[in-house]
């Protein structure tokens, strides 16, 4: 058995397709949706914990890829360069998981790495480019 957390990027045309269904029905994989949303660019984004027999897991990944889903392992990490961050807060409404929030007292912006799903939305939108992707 394997169990892995992966991020799936669905192009616009696939957003309404029952792709995950096949994973369950034909490959007997179990899944747990940790996060799902549609980005402003209308790409579907889903963070999934996928569990099943190794053989079926690999087949599942192959199947997803053949449909045009881009898969990103969750090993990639977004970190904040504390020196560059000006604590403006323009990232706060952008982050889909509330990993970036304003401290109501100090008005400083805290970044909770554990909540971050590495969607990278903040990376190019942060004006001083303080959010960095590390592999």
């Amino acid at each position: 058995m394997v169990s892995k957390r992966i991020v799936l990027h669905f192009p616009h045309r696939l957003v309404n397709q029952p792709i995950i269904y096949k994973l369950v029905k034909e490959l007997d994989l179990q899944f747990n949706i940790l996060k799902a949303f549609v980005t402003p660019q209308e790409e579907g984004l889903m963070v999934l914990e996928l569990t099943g027999k190794r053989e079926n897991f690999d087949k599942g990944i192959e199947y997803l890829k053949s449909c045009g889903v881009r898969i990103q392992p969750l090993s990639q990490d977004v970190i904040r360069n504390e020196e560059r961050c000006t604590n403006c807060g323009v990232c706060v409404p952008i982050c889909p998981t509330q990993a970036l929030i304003v401290d109501p007292k100090t008005r400083e912006i805290s970044f909770d790495n554990k909540k971050c799903i590495a969607c990278e939305l903040c990376v190019k939108l942060c004006p001083p480019r303080a959010m960095e992707v590390h592999f």
């Binding site: 402003p40 660019q41 560059r84 000006t86 604590n87 403006c88 807060g89 323009v90 990232c91 706060v92 409404p93 952008i94 304003v102 109501p104 100090t106 008005r107 400083e108 190019k124 939108l125 004006p127 001083p128 480019r129």
Partner: protein, 404 residues
Amino acid sequence: MRTIKEINEKIRKGQVVVVTAEEVIDLVEKKGVKKVAQEVDVVTTGTFGPMCSSGAYFNIGHTKPRIKIGGGTCTLNDVPAYTGFAAVDIYMGATAIPDDDPRNKVYPGEFKYGGAHVIEDIVAGKDVRLDATAYGTDCYPRRKLETLLNIKDLNEAVLFNMRNAYQNYNIAVNLSDKPIYTYLGMLKPNLGNANYCSAGQLSPLLKDPYYKTIGIGTKIFLGGGIGFVAWQGTQHNPGVPRRENGTTKVPGGTLSVIGDLKQMKSQYLVGTSMLGYGVTLIVGIGVPIPVLDEEVIQHAAAKDKDIYAPIVDYSQNYPQVIPGSLGEASYEQLKSGKITIQGKEVPTGNLSSYSKAVKISEELKSWIKKGDFELTEPVAKLPAADSGYSFKLLKERPILQKEE
């Protein structure tokens, strides 16, 4: 009540009482305007937001043999500088970008490096690369120059911003069904977010709304060093509608500022890249307000709850200059994290760092208390609310072709 001269005497004697524009709010609530006006000598303000009309000029020193860059070309780290001056004076504007930057060809463009970043690097003490060409004259024969430059070797390095410290600003939203990329950040479709850009109750011109103490010649905190108000900023628009507390309901006055870049710190001058828009410079500014009378304190005590900004659609209204706002919201509401527009709850984001604005007002306060910073008397007033001075759109006129 007191004059700037008296305040400076107190600064010299170490007896001056200084509070920040945030602290004065609580003080007035507790003790009342009259008492606070008696006790407090100076209120310090602060703001830390992006301003595109920023730039810096440099005198790089004469070369041997001499070159006249004026009328030629010049880049710093591949970012073009303006050369239309004498031999070795150049001006780097914040929004300048390298000729080979893809701009918005791949939309939305990233704008990774530009004039604002060059200024930040120079202030940080990093070497920058200069490439210049000239046409050559009898007195300035040289045609080409390639060299590294460092701020410590420049004769002058001066920050000069045509417009800064906007008195209030729009709250930007997007009514269309596509994301848009603006100078106020990315706006999600269908009122997905609302971005604002002001320090609100800490912002200099919102705390001296009628420019009673801030004028041309006022000494200020600029980018971590000392600067001065050089003039009213471009697009200064003092005649706009105001609230009872004097604050403008829409963007109003602005300041043009100048100061020695050599004293500044890169943490207060930050090069930034606005996705799909361009490069701009975040500038830290703090302005001291001398408490000349009770009215000054009354105004300086305006709080986020009583300062409102207009909500403007940036998908149609702003670009097409269609008048109309979607209402207004106070800075207190904005800071709560969401505001209501057309019945919808919309999350808010600030482009101007409030925590840095607090830090600037604190730092200026400590300079004054330590006796390192005395106040100046303005040498001339900024155009006032009733001056008739205003800001208008361009009236385009056709260029008639001459018949052959």
